[in-house]
């Protein structure tokens, strides 16, 4: 590869550090940049691996070690408007959004791409585990990472197709262990930093506590009825923001059989509970799909669909809708189809695109149990 000018997004974690450092080591002209997103200075002594000023110090230290320039760019406003508040609104209306996908869509592969010219950069690099290939027909393809356990294509499904030709994912072919080994070899002090697991802006994983405490949100906090599949009241819930579809823990009800959240109706302020088998859905309908393809696929296209980050994937058939969304029919019913989470479609290791799930369709009894359509958008 010829010498490139690269804008490297650095979160402060080991992955983005190694991505930037490897490019610098290969002789590319790297400029490191950290997007200042949120919550800095408000979470003292947070042990979490990103989202604090420590993250900025860590990223800067990597830049110093590798002798490339480093800058901080403020993105707090956009993060709040495009990522955090929609996530909060989602919780308040019974939908569990996946904010990392919208952060990638709007900030890392949205606004940051527009900032490439600041550094006169040819490429944008991140520490995501994913690969981009050029297809024989000239199109670009987003493909799963070599390290299947670390693959992050699910979180990248909403990024614009047009940026695929401008991004570099230096970790796409590497195992995580190799990434840490590179960090150690290059003398990067973050080499043994713990993995970040949870949402970067919720330090302790207590979403409801964050939404009500930090953000002062009151929507979705009123107690209401737990109901069973027939609508009969079976208990009292603590407010819809405490629940997500498929949730089993923390329900505080004892009904003989183990109970799961089947659906959330924020307008009625009810949370529907039922046995595990009742979580099964035959399919789903999505919002408008972001296709990582030059043209949308035809009706009847067979795909592997993942419906949450850690979902292995299920064989399914796509039926495009006129509104840009799709209806997806699983070969086998899938458990816990959650409105707000992404449905991401694959052909082998190629990620075809994805979209937020609007609603599940096809309960065993033919009912629809999900957030009402009025609230879904």
């Amino acid at each position: 590869m010829s010498r490139l000018r690269v804008l490297a997004a650095m979160s402060g974690g080991v992955d983005s550090a190694v991505a930037a450092a490897l490019l610098a080591e290969q002789g590319h002209e790297v400029t490191g940049v950290t997007l200042r997103l949120a919550c800095y200075g408000k979470t003292p002594l947070s042990p979490r691996a990103c989202c604090t000023l420590d993250a900025i110090d860590d990223a800067r230290r990597v830049a110093q070690t590798m002798s490339f320039p480093y800058h901080i760019v403020d993105a707090e406003q956009v993060f709040r408007e495009r990522v955090m508040m929609p996530w909060v609104d989602g919780y308040a209306s019974g939908r569990t959004l996946y904010p990392c996908a919208s952060c990638n869509q709007h900030l890392k592969f949205g606004d940051l791409v527009t900032r490439m010219e600041l550094a006169a950069a040819d490429r944008l690099a991140t520490g995501h585990y994913a690969r981009v290939t050029r297809e024989p027909d000239g199109s670009w393809a987003l493909r799963r990472a070599a390290d299947a356990g670390k693959d992050q294509t699910y979180a990248l499904a909403l990024i614009p197709y047009a940026v695929l030709g401008r991004v570099l994912f230096p970790l796409g072919e590497l195992e995580k262990t190799a990434v840490r080994a590179h960090a150690q070899r290059l003398g990067l002090s973050c080499w043994d930093k713990p993995e970040s697991q949870d949402l970067c802006f919720v330090p302790d994983g207590d979403y409801a506590g964050y939404i009500t405490g930090q953000l002062g949100e009151t929507r979705g906090t009123a107690p209401g009825a737990f109901v069973d599949e027939r609508g009969a009241r079976v208990g009292t819930h603590r407010g819809v923001i405490h629940y997500t579809v498929g949730q089993r823990k923390g329900l505080g009800v004892a009904l003989g059989e183990r109970q799961y959240v089947l659906g959330i109706d924020a307008a009625a302020n009810t949370v529907t509970l039922g046995p595990r088998a009742a979580l099964a859905r035959a399919g789903l309908v999505t919002e408008r799909v972001n296709w990582l393809l030059p043209t949308a696929p035809a009706a009847g296209t067979r795909v592997l669909a993942r419906i949450r980050y850690n979902h292995a994937g299920a064989a399914a058939t796509l039926e495009p809708h006129a509104d840009g969304g799709v209806e997806l029919r699983f070969d086998e019913p899938q458990l816990a189809v959650t409105p707000g989470q992404l449905a991401v479609f694959y052909d082998g290791d190629r990620c075809l695109g994805g979209a937020p799930i609007r609603e599940a369709v096809g309960t065993p009894r033919g009912l629809r149990v999900s957030a009402p359509a009025a609230l879904a958008r």
Binding site: T31, V33, R36, Y40, G41, L53, I56, P69, H71, I72, V73, D74, A75, E76, Q77, V78, E81, D111, T114, R115, E117, L118, A119, A120
Partner: protein
């Protein structure tokens, strides 16, 4: 090689200074407080530096106390003077545009029970002299900067001081940005304490001086030994002090010619900026300013974006005062001047210096034009 337009943050050490410091590190190993000949040799070098430092600001050598720099000097003067006058009152004041170091010293006093007032700034970045009249009785110390670090605006210190002294208020002058760039005379200013720092005029970092006019009260903060006439305990930073002395002497000697040269370069730079970016706003343009400083807003080009673009193209400048977190918070100085937020978050400070050439100015202008164009394309909410 990149162009360095950030001399208000720090300056490259002058070669003569580096040479003198190296020699001190090699040859002056003894403690200046020791009675033996080796110690006396070091003491003599420190006292030579004290004389050199005094000349730069029109003071007597005996009035000079060496400190570690501007922040310590501000703390020693403000806290030490307020403490020494505690029986007269527990109220201090400073101008809104003061450096963080002054805010920090006032904060120390606040925690000890003092109160404080803040003098406003006008739209040109000047502190109105009559604002001193509004200070409450019992005010004992007023801190005023000679020239603002962000805008370069030179303050009416003599007029402010005259009003302060009529009310029995002692004046601390933070001359960190002014000393070595414009003529400074403690007698003419009439102030009681003056602080300056070596690294702003070709000296090393970590060396500064506090000038204490005769009979100005001061309680020392570092105690336990008789260094610096008992006003600042701690074995002297000998190489730093020697570097400060040489830098002060060189700056004083070349002051008139150098400030005229810089003013010419700055005029050329400002004219070029206005030509390249017609809607540019130069802050403090209507006020007297340091010859080396331009603080300008480029509407629509957010300063964090612009800095990245400038740096990528080889021009080192700064967004107002250096900020640890790099946010787009408007600078408190521009805020105090009433600059609207959308303009304040687009401000960049360029500060020229001894190493700046005509060629640098021409190249910098091209870089700024290109960078502003790039930064204006990034349209994200902020």
């Amino acid at each position: 090689m990149s162009i360095y337009f950030d001399h208000n943050a720090s300056t490259p050490v002058r070669p003569e200074v580096a040479e003198a410091m190296l020699q001190a590190l090699r040859d002056l190993g003894a403690n200046p407080s020791s009675a033996h000949s080796e110690g006396q040799r070091v003491r003599a070098a420190v006292e030579r530096a004290r004389a050199q430092a005094a000349v730069l600001v029109g003071a007597e050598p005996r009035q000079v106390v060496f400190v570690s720099g501007g922040t310590e000097g501000d703390h020693l003067a403000i806290v030490g003077s307020a403490w020494a006058q505690r029986e007269r009152g527990q109220h201090v004041a400073y101008a809104a545009i003061e450096h963080h170091a002054v805010h920090g010293a006032a904060d120390v006093l606040e925690r000890l029970g003092w109160h404080h007032s803040v003098l406003p700034s006008d739209a040109n970045g000047l502190t109105p002299p009559d604002s001193v009249n509004d200070l409450p009785s019992g005010t004992t110390v007023l801190a005023l900067m000679l020239a603002n670090n962000e805008t370069g605006v030179v303050q009416p210190v003599a007029a402010l001081t005259a009003r302060a002294q009529a009310r029995g208020i002692r004046v601390v002058c933070d001359a960190v940005q002014g000393a070595g760039k414009v003529p400074v005379d403690v007698g003419a200013l009439g102030i009681d304490y003056l602080v300056f720092s070596a690294h702003k005029f070709g000296g090393p970092k970590g060396a500064g001086a506090l000038v204490i006019r005769d009979r100005a009260p001061l309680e020392p903060l570092f105690r336990g030994s008789a260094h610096e006439r008992g006003l600042r305990g701690g074995t002297e930073n000998v190489p730093g002090i020697i570097g400060l002395g040489v830098a002060a002497e060189l700056a004083a000697r070349g002051l008139a010619a150098e400030s005229a040269r810089l003013l010419e370069l700055r005029k050329r730079f400002e004219a070029g900026l206005k030509q390249a970016v017609p809607d540019i706003v130069i802050h403090g343009a209507a006020a007297p300013r340091l010859p080396n400083t331009v603080n300008a807003s480029f509407p629509g080009a957010r300063s964090d974006h612009l800095l990245l673009a400038l740096d990528s193209r080889g021009l080192a400048a700064s967004a107002g005062a250096a900020c640890a977190s790099g946010g787009v918070e408007p600078s408190p100085v521009l805020k105090a001047m009433g600059v609207p937020r959308e303009l304040a978050i687009c401000a960049i400070r360029f500060s020229l210096g001894r190493t700046t050439t005509e060629d640098d100015v021409a190249r910098a202008l091209a870089i700024v034009a290109e960078s502003v164009k790039a930064a204006r394309k990034v349209t994200v909410p902020s």
